[in-house]
Symmetry: C2
Subunit: 496 residues, 2 copies
């Protein structure tokens, strides 16, 4: 597939000087259009060493309006990055909507290098590519335009180019030992690259292979590609907005569907004495387990969802009581900030990813997309249906990184809820928890039940199972949460 | 000064259980008031090891509404933190307005430990304390309430407490080798702490010394202190808002003041041939110098300010042309996002602090406060007057960290500006740069000149001098910028 980029493409200085001003004007125009749109652009500049990636990026930097773009270069991961799932370093620098992110070195660099140097095998590479495809699909679904450019050079050209760079004292620094090591691996590098490019080219996000010997040619090609794709993308966006349509009809289950929540025995309870004994026992146990986990750098992420007044706060407090305050964080999910609104909806959860060894507790979570946003119509059906797979992949990234992930749904019935609302209104430091909205939400109990049922059906995976907690009795619920976390930690530590 | 915290203060369980619910209600109430205010709260929990910092923080975590608070724990700096000025790690986690940040371990921890273990001397400690005082003053000026709590224990109590913790398998983990090492240094630790607490207690931000042997006592003390200070703070804020007044009258200079800009010779120019020669020469030289600097992990921060159409963009492009695109970033300063608006105005510049070895170019900068915000009245006189000292301290933090800092003002006269506006309107890819606002700003030329003069007078320091660039001739200006940067880098490298 690289033959097309071994033909000696060149652009004369005259042609270049003629074309560039027009291209710049067009790019600036498109950037201005983009800046008010609800989507972003990612340009990946990859390729062989000496293929002129730096030259292309310099040109883009000079042509584009710096207010709406940013260049991201990736080196070896920092210790803060190594302490988190692999893609965190990319999520943290995603271009906000309305802007262009230029990437030199990207999510492809490490997988290719690892395979070339036999640190991974074909199966592992394929798995990495699956993750990449999923990431790009999620971004594309969210309206992000991804342009992937591969700068290619023939082997003898690469050798010549590196020698040229090395011989000139002004450019010798560009040639590193790593480059020389890579040159020896040229054949194997190209073979792996070909495979990667093939697998990761989709109709929506294909690779563009560009000959890298002449910077005028390659810069123009990349610049024109950016112009044309962006133009098309903006046109298509407008059409899509105009005829937005559902792509899937939900089954009409009438009253016939059994709900996973209805199967729970809300009569389960604990008496005060047993509760106090077990609370002491499990809090002590948890404290020890969490310290062991911390020593092994195993983080925990605990998600709490449930009905209003279901007892999330109380369960969380019984849990944090057993932890060292320096080592956990409770994140109450609130409305997104405007920086968060300018990103994929999962971005705000990626950005607060804890470092290794810590416990992060979410009081409500990314499941808002499939619950309140679905029921209240804040997300379109397409968006919340898509969210199930986006979430399972997100959670897979956590569990594959070795994070212990638990998800609790605290279930009560409508009568119990009403009783608790009334109680709250009597206790001074709980009054602020009750609003009109809580009463309004009660009217949509059936819709929420259905949403919970679907959520469990679609996101309770082997690696990240939902724990449904019978919570009409607070004592029973709290102990179940503590015990579930203890059991999971114990099993994880035993399996090390 | 610690005697008052060696008297054996205790709170009975009964008293504690009686007082806590009321305190919680009050704290939650105040938090709700705070959440709509334009200010934030910082609570530092420091003190001797075994003083029960963890217990106090656990209590605060349980009492406060987690939506409006966050606990920050500091361990050894990460490599991303070591690559940046010392206070970056604190700036990055500052509580947004409307919220409370609880700090366990803070800007005091390292300076105290370093002095105790003789890694610094008294003079160095004093310097660190000056920086801390400045930081706290800036935060307080910005409306932040800072509550500093020191948990004290007598030496034999500390010994006993550590032994108790160690003997209980559930708590032994809390005692680290570091604690034992510190215990041996108790006397010297207390001596240094006393000194630090004395120097860093101001009428606005005093230390509160609390006996740490009984968690009920210390938690109640901290909680009540937080309640009382916050209440007072909110009341005072309202009064201050009501009778906001200027605290300094600007001198009425009439037409008599000479302006530093008027002293520039705008006739300076270069012919095309000399320009091209020098451009090549300095770009080549700069490329080499920047690579040397990168190898030594020396970063550069270049600030460009100047009249509209003064030629900032062109000068920046001539400069970046000599750099590796992977190693620099151009930051165009735009309006702050809402996350940025919820912080001290310098926060958005701290947050983008480059890692060691990189070049960051600001197209407009933190000086906006003293220029456009002053002239257009977006900042009050008190705010922009204060900004001069805030900025010089900020820049001192950069230069003390070894960053090469250069600040350019590109100066043209009104006729030249008008000529350039007209030219821009003719060139397709420059049209977007001209707006009505540019013409409007011309009417305020005198006000801006005065602001520039004051800015130079108050912020051109030995470590961070302003370079005023005669820019009526673009060629002359571009070479002056390049040469200035080269000279500065050369001198810095020679001095290593």
């Amino acid at each position: 597939m690289f033959e097309v980029a071994e033909l000696g493409h060149k652009v004369s200085k005259a042609e270049y000087l003629e074309k560039v001003p027009k291209l710049r004007t067009q790019l600036l125009d498109l950037q201005r259009q983009l800046s008010i749109e609800d989507c972003s652009v990612i340009v990946l500049i990859s390729g062989v060493d000496g293929g002129g990636k730096g030259d292309v990026i310099s040109c883009l930097n000079e042509w584009l309006d710096p207010r709406f773009m940013r260049t991201n270069a990736y080196d070896s991961p920092t210790d803060e990055e190594r302490d988190r799932p692999e893609f965190w370093r990319f999520w943290r620098t995603m271009p906000p909507k309305g802007t262009i992110g230029i990437y030199v070195g990207s999510w492809y660099s490490e997988p290719i290098a690892q395979r070339v140097f036999n640190k991974t095998d074909d199966a592992q590479l394929q798995k990495q590519l699956n993750h990449i495809n999923q990431l790009e699909k999620e971004l594309a679904d969210d309206g992000t335009l991804i342009i992937k450019c591969w700068l290619h050079l023939k082997k003898d050209q690469q050798k010549k180019r590196l020698k040229q760079l090395e011989d000139n004292p002004d450019t010798a620094w560009q040639v590193t030992d790593r480059d020389k090591k890579h040159l020896k691996k040229y054949d194997s590098f190209v073979a792996v690259a070909e495979k990667v490019l093939k697998v990761s080219s989709s109709a929506q996000n294909p690779w563009l292979i560009i000959e890298g010997g002449d910077y005028r040619y390659s810069s123009l090609m990349v610049g024109q590609q950016l112009r044309d794709q962006l133009q098309l993308h903006l046109e298509c966006r407008q059409q899509e907005q105009a005829n937005k349509q559902q792509r899937f009809t939900l089954p009409d289950v009438g009253g016939h569907q059994l709900n996973v929540l209805d199967a729970l025995d809300l009569g389960l309870q604990l008496n005060k004495k047993t509760y106090n004994e077990q609370l002491n026992y499990y809090q002590g146990k948890l404290n020890q387990l969490v310290r062991l986990a911390q020593a092994k750098k195993i983080s925990s992420v605990l998600v709490f969802e449930g009905w209003d007044a279901g007892g999330k706060g109380g369960a969380i407090r019984r849990l944090t009581h057993a932890l060292d305050a320096r080592n956990y964080e409770v994140i109450s999910v609130a409305a997104p900030t405007d920086e968060e609104r300018k990103q994929h909806y999962l971005w705000r959860f990626w950005r607060h990813m804890p470092r290794a060894g810590r416990v992060t507790i979410y009081d409500r979570s990314w499941y808002g997309r499939t619950l309140v946003e679905r029921v209240e119509g804040f997300a379109s059906q397409d968006e919340w249906m898509r969210a199930y797979s986006e979430i399972t992949h997100f959670e897979e990234a956590l569990t594959e990184h070795g994070i212990v992930l638990l998800k609790f749904w605290l279930h009560i019935d409508p009568d119990e809820q009403l009783k608790r609302f009334k109680e709250r209104e009597q206790i001074s430091y709980k009054q602020h928890k009750i609003t009109e909205e809580d009463y309004r939400n009660r009217n949509r109990w059936e819709d929420y039940s259905l949403a919970v049922n679907d959520m469990v059906a679609r996101t309770s995976t082997q690696a990240a199972k939902w724990t449904l907690v019978e919570a009409n009795d607070k004592r029973y619920a709290r102990i179940k949460v503590l015990k579930t976390y203890c059991d999971k930690l114990e099993a994880t530590l035993a399996a090390l």
